[in-house]
Symmetry: C2
Subunit: 249 residues, 2 copies
Amino acid sequence: MSDNPTAAVLIIGDEILSGRTQDTNTSYIARMLGSQGIDLKEVRIVGDKEAEVVAALNALRFRYTYVFTTGGIGPTHDDITADAVAKAFGVGIDYHPDVLAMLGARYKPGEFNEMRKRMARIPLGAELVRNTASVAPGIHIGNVYVMAGVPAIMRAMMEDILPGLRRGQVVHSATVEACVAEGRVAEALMKIQQDFAELALGSYPYYREDGFGVQLVARGRDAQKVEEAAQAIEKMLRAEGVHPIRLKS
Amino acid sequence: MSDNPTAAVLIIGDEILSGRTQDTNTSYIARMLGSQGIDLKEVRIVGDKEAEVVAALNALRFRYTYVFTTGGIGPTHDDITADAVAKAFGVGIDYHPDVLAMLGARYKPGEFNEMRKRMARIPLGAELVRNTASVAPGIHIGNVYVMAGVPAIMRAMMEDILPGLRRGQVVHSATVEACVAEGRVAEALMKIQQDFAELALGSYPYYREDGFGVQLVARGRDAQKVEEAAQAIEKMLRAEGVHPIRLKS
């Protein structure tokens, strides 16, 4: 399990920190990484400030197998990610001839202005992340993947990135829902956690229009153990007089 | 502006990192802090691991005026936040008599079990954060506010917290939307940014069913300057032959 690849996500953008935009990239990347058996360990969100991006990137890239960033690679003045990545790696940055050619072919004569050319500025030594949703590429340098912030483009970039990542053992999960206060079954759940020390059992209360309850989730790399734990949870709930509902998870 | 209070958010929970749950607490807290003129500068998401929470908390609490955490204060074994906070501050933790009394009054005889009593364990020297949505309180220690992860409870806790925070000068914003590629107006936008150096101008492209375009946002503490920048953006768009739409923001 210690051999499993790990990852961090770095979301770059004032619009997330101001509450203007709801980030949805994190959960998408998390699920994509999960499908490859890569553990997302940490997420950071910072603003459009070069020093903040450089510091976060250097803190994360030495600690985890992979770092995925989103945001700040467009043509406008507030798009500072490529420069920050170059600075974090201590390398130069310059117009990449392939990207200049790709972008040049995309725009009509006279439309390929200086600001749009900014999207061709790639840190030296980096590779390109192609995508089917836009022409401007992402960036792959060292263990860092730099993606767009627009969800549709980010997702298309993840498609290009995923096959090249080292895979780990996938984490399986099983979810049992019940109309019961989590505090009533907390002790019994803890005992099941002790019986299945290699799994992580989580308890997630919910409050909905139709009442309250809890989702009990077993997660781990041994699918059979996860299933056994889910069955132990179901048995425990029945013993408490509560009807368990197995959810797809 | 440098005197303005700053803040970080620390989201605690495996369920966010696995992609199982979409975090919405960050954007809510961001907007609440914004209403008080407090700048959210950084967000971190870590799993239910004490060492991770302690490290993140200590990194953030010395750097920002306030830190707000969500998650991990319930009755189950995976609720480790109170212990992590005590450890980060180097203080003990014990059952708080007021919280024991509050919780004891909430449950029927025999229902107030040992696991539920865990919710009364409060770091020594901390104050309680009350809320109208549940009995178990949040925690206020030093410059750190510890809240529930369930959004409805977190929001009720923020209501208790907000009046006690130091206020700053509120950031105003104006948003102008236009059906134009951001690259076409990027240079003109950069010039407006140079004219309004005390503001932050952001460019946020969108891709919707009805077409693509961009939202140009001016943000800053001087409402008049923000309005002037928005008008400069509108004028610039018209000069480019594009119809500007002022959004409520």
